[in-house]
C-alpha cells in the first residue's frame, strides 16, 4: 500500500514559517497537485517529502513508514527538478541510467530500461547527445525519463513545465498525464500554473502562506471554492468578487432560496444556496460570479446588475468584456458574435445557481 501522508507538517526557517501544519494524503496511484502563488510553501513541502529539507515538526509517511529521519537517498523517491538538473558531463543515455546503478542491475537490464523509457518519451534520437546540446523540451523529457526509469515509491515534480513555451507545454501536459496514468504511483506535482494543475491532477491542494486552503478535485475546486482566495485563484478570467450587504433571503421558485443584496449602489437579487439563510440580515458578504456565469440582458429589474462597458478584449471565439460600475471592475465573457459598443450601459444577470456567497470571513456559504 504505497501512499504519501503528511501529518501536521511544519517547516520553519529561522523567523519564517514556510509550511504551517499541513495535513495531506495522497492515495496510491493518485496524482496530487500542490498549487499556489510564489512563496506559499509548496516547493518546500515537496522537498520535505523528498528529504532535501528537514521537517521542523510533524510526520511524513511514505508507504506507511515514517521517513522524517531518513536521508533522501534512502527514501527511494524520484524527483524531476525545475531546472532539470541533468548531469552536464554525461550523455542522455548515461543520465537515464544514472539512478539504476544503485539498484545493482546488470548492463543488459539497464539498457532495456533505457530503451523502454526512450520509446515512451521519444528520446531515441538524442541518446548520445549531451545536455547542453538539447532543446528545452528535450531536456525536460530526459529529466522526466530519469525519474520514470526506476521503480520508486512515489514521483515528485517541481514545476515541470514552467520553462517551456505554450505549445510545448500543451504537448508535455498530455504526455506526462499518460505516463503517470500508466505508472500508477502516488505523484505530487508542484506548480503555480492552474491550467497545469487542472489538467494533470486527480486532486489539487491549493496553498497560501504555508497553509492548505482547500484540497479537492479540479471540478470541485472550480464549482465549490471554499473561500475567496481559492475562488479568485482558480479560473481564468478571474472570478468577479464584489462586496455587498445582505438584505434578506426569501423563498424562491422550486424551494430554492433567493437572496437580495445591496451592491454597487443598487439592489440585486439572485438564487443562492440555502445556507445563506443563516447569515444575519444587514451583514457584509462577498459575492462571487465567474465571468462566464454572467449573461447580458437589457438593463433594469432586480435580477439585473447595471454596468457600463469600458473595454472589449477579443479572445478568439469569445469576447472578454470589462465593465465598470461605481468604480468596481466586472468581467463578463460572451460569444464573439455578440454586438456591443464601448460606453453603453448593459445589464448583467447571473445564471441560476452560479452565484457564490462568501461570509464576512471569506468562507463559502453552502
Amino acid at each position: 500500500m504505497s501512499e504519501i501522508r503528511l501529518q501536521q507538517l511544519t517547516k520553519r526557517f529561522q523567523n519564517l514559517l514556510a509550511v504551517d501544519r499541513v495535513d495531506l494524503e495522497v492515495a496510491p496511484g493518485e496524482v496530487m497537485c500542490l498549487l499556489g502563488p510564489s512563496g506559499c510553501g509548496k516547493t518546500t513541502t515537496l522537498r520535505m517529502i523528498a528529504g532535501l529539507e528537514s521537517a521542523t515538526d510533524g510526520n511524513i509517511l511514505i508507504a506507511g513508514k515514517r521517513v522524517n529521519d531518513l536521508p533522501a537517498r534512502e527514501r527511494n523517491v524520484a524527483m524531476t527538478f525545475q531546472f532539470y538538473a541533468l548531469y552536464p558531463s554525461l550523455t542522455v543515455a548515461e543520465n537515464l541510467a544514472y539512478p539504476l546503478h544503485a539498484d545493482g542491475l546488470s548492463r543488459t537490464q539497464i539498457n532495456e530500461r533505457i530503451a523502454q523509457v526512450s520509446k515512451v518519451l521519444d528520446l531515441e534520437g538524442i541518446l548520445k547527445r549531451r545536455p547542453h546540446q538539447l532543446g528545452e523540451g528535450e531536456k525536460q523529457r530526459v529529466a522526466v525519463g530519469r525519474s520514470i526509469v526506476r521503480q520508486p515509491t512515489c514521483f515528485l515534480f517541481d514545476e515541470p513545465l514552467s520553462r517551456l513555451d505554450i505549445q510545448l507545454r500543451q504537448q508535455m501536459r498530455t504526455q506526462i498525464k499518460e505516463v503517470l496514468e500508466k505508472l500508477d504511483k502516488p505523484t505530487v506535482i508542484v506548480t503555480h500554473d492552474q491550467i497545469e494543475a487542472l489538467t494533470m491532477a486527480d486532486r489539487i491542494a491549493v496553498m497560501r502562506d504555508g497553509r492548505i486552503e482547500q484540497v479537492a478535485t479540479p471540478h470541485d475546486l472550480f464549482a465549490y471554492p471554499v473561500n475567496t482566495f481559492v475562488a479568485g485563484f482558480i479560473g481564468t478570467p478571474q472570478m468577479n468578487l464584489v462586496e455587498a450587504t445582505l438584505r434578506a433571503v426569501e423563498d424562491g421558485p422550486d424551494g430554492t432560496a433567493r437572496g437580495r443584496f445591496d451592491l454597487l449602489g443598487e439592489s440585486f437579487a439572485a438564487r443562492v444556496e440555502p445556507g445563506v439563510r443563516r447569515l444575519p440580515a444587514g451583514g457584509r458578504v462577498t459575492l462571487g460570479v465567474r465571468p462566464r456565469s454572467f449573461v447580458l440582458a437589457p438593463p433594469g429589474g432586480e435580477e439585473t446588475l447595471r454596468a457600463t462597458l469600458d473595454l472589449v478584449e477579443p479572445m478568439g471565439a469569445e469576447l472578454l468584456l470589462h465593465l465598470l460600475q461605481h468604480g468596481s471592475d466586472l468581467r463578463c465573457v460572451v460569444r464573439h458574435t455578440t454586438r456591443v459598443t464601448v460606453g453603453e450601459t448593459v445589464g448583467l444577470r447571473c445564471k441560476p445557481g452560479q452565484l457564490h456567497v462568501f461570509d464576512e470571513n471569506g468562507a463559502l456559504v453552502q
Binding site: 528529504g51 532535501l52 529539507e53 528537514s54 522524517n68 529521519d69 531518513l70 536521508p71 533522501a72
Partner: protein, 290 residues
C-alpha cells in the same frame, strides 16, 4: 526515537571546523610567529619552547626606524623611513601610470578588437610570464649606459611596464563584463565615444580599477629581483633591504626583521580583506572570474 537531523546538502558541522582549524594553523603559524616575534624582546624571541605568553615590547618597531649607534647618543634614523617611502612611492606611481595606459589599451582591446587581438594579448601576457632574469640582463646594461641605475625614473618606468600586462588583462576583463546595451543606448542618444567612455563605462569599472590598482601595488610592493639590481642606496625598496639585513656579520636581529616584515604586510592584509571578492580575479591576472 532518536532523530538524526537530516542536514541540507552542502552543510557541515563543527567537526569540519576543527579539522580546518588545524590545517589553517599550518599555513598561518609562520606568519603568526613573525608577528609575535616582532613584539618580543631578543631573548624571548629565540626562547624554546616557543613562548606564546610574553610581555610585548615595541622596541623592535622603534628600532626599525631609529637606532642608537653610540652609547648614550641620540637615536638616528636608520633609513627605513626612506625605504618604506620608496616602496610606496615607486609602487604607487608606477601602478598609476600603468593603470592609465593600461585602461586605455584595455578599452581598445575590449571595444575595438583588432584583427590580431588575441595575438597581441597573448604577447602581452607572455611579457609578464617570462622570468625577470631574462629581461634584466639587457635592461641592466642599458640602465648603466643611460645612467638610469639607481634613479627613481628608471625603476618607475620599468615597473610601469612590469605592471602593464596585469593592468591590461584585469581591466579588460572588467570591460568585457559590462552590459553593452547601455552604451548603445547612449550612442543612439547622440553621445560621443569619449562621453560614452567617461559617463557610462568608466563609472562602472571604478571598483575594478581600484581593485586592480591595489593588487598591482601589492605585486610591485613585494617585488624583489628588479629592485635588487636597479635601485641604488637612495631608491632602495623594503624587500631588498630585508635581504641585506640578513647578510650582516653580527648575527641577525630577528626581532627587528619581524617588526619590519609585520609593518610591511599590514597593507597587504588590509587589502586582501577588503578585496576578497576580487581575489580570484586578481591572482590569476584577470583570466579567471566567477
Amino acid at each position: 526515537m532518536a532523530s538524526r537531523e537530516v542536514r541540507a546538502i552542502g552543510q557541515a558541522g563543527w567537526g569540519r571546523t576543527l579539522g580546518a582549524a588545524a590545517i589553517s594553523l599550518i599555513y598561518f603559524f609562520p606568519v603568526l610567529f613573525i608577528i609575535m616575534t616582532a613584539f618580543k624582546t631578543r631573548s624571548d624571541a629565540l626562547a624554546w619552547p616557543i613562548k606564546f605568553i610574553f610581555t610585548p615590547t615595541l622596541s623592535n618597531f622603534i628600532s626599525v626606524f631609529f637606532r642608537v649607534t653610540v652609547e648614550g647618543g641620540a637615536a638616528e634614523a636608520t633609513g627605513f623611513g626612506l625605504y618604506f617611502f620608496n616602496s610606496l612611492f615607486i609602487g604607487g606611481t608606477s601602478v598609476l601610470l600603468a593603470l592609465i595606459i593600461g585602461t586605455s589599451a584595455a578599452y581598445g582591446f575590449s571595444r575595438f578588437p583588432l584583427r590580431g587581438n588575441d595575438t597581441y594579448l597573448f604577447m602581452i601576457l607572455t611579457t609578464r610570464m617570462m622570468p625577470p632574469i631574462i629581461a634584466i640582463i639587457p635592461i641592466f646594461v642599458l640602465f648603466n649606459v643611460f645612467g638610469l641605475s639607481g634613479t627613481y625614473i628608471g625603476i618607475i618606468a620599468l615597473y610601469t611596464a612590469f605592471n602593464l600586462p596585469f593592468s591590461i588583462w584585469m581591466v579588460k576583463s572588467f570591460f568585457d563584463d559590462l552590459d553593452r546595451d547601455m552604451e548603445d543606448a547612449a550612442r543612439m542618444d547622440g553621445s560621443s565615444e569619449w562621453k560614452v567612455f567617461r559617463k557610462i563605462c568608466l563609472p562602472q569599472v571604478y571598483a575594478g580599477l581600484a581593485a586592480t590598482f591595489v593588487f598591482a601595488v601589492i605585486l610591485t610592493w613585494n617585488e624583489f629581483v628588479f629592485a635588487l639590481l636597479l635601485t641604488g642606496t637612495q631608491t632602495r625598496t623594503v624587500p631588498v633591504q630585508i635581504v641585506r639585513t640578513i647578510g650582516g656579520a653580527l648575527g641577525v636581529d630577528w626581532g627587528l626583521l619581524s617588526a619590519l616584515e609585520t609593518l610591511f604586510i599590514i597593507p597587504v592584509v588590509l587589502v586582501t580583506f577588503a578585496l576578497q571578492n576580487q581575489l580570484l580575479r586578481g591572482v590569476t591576472f584577470g583570466t579567471i572570474r566567477r
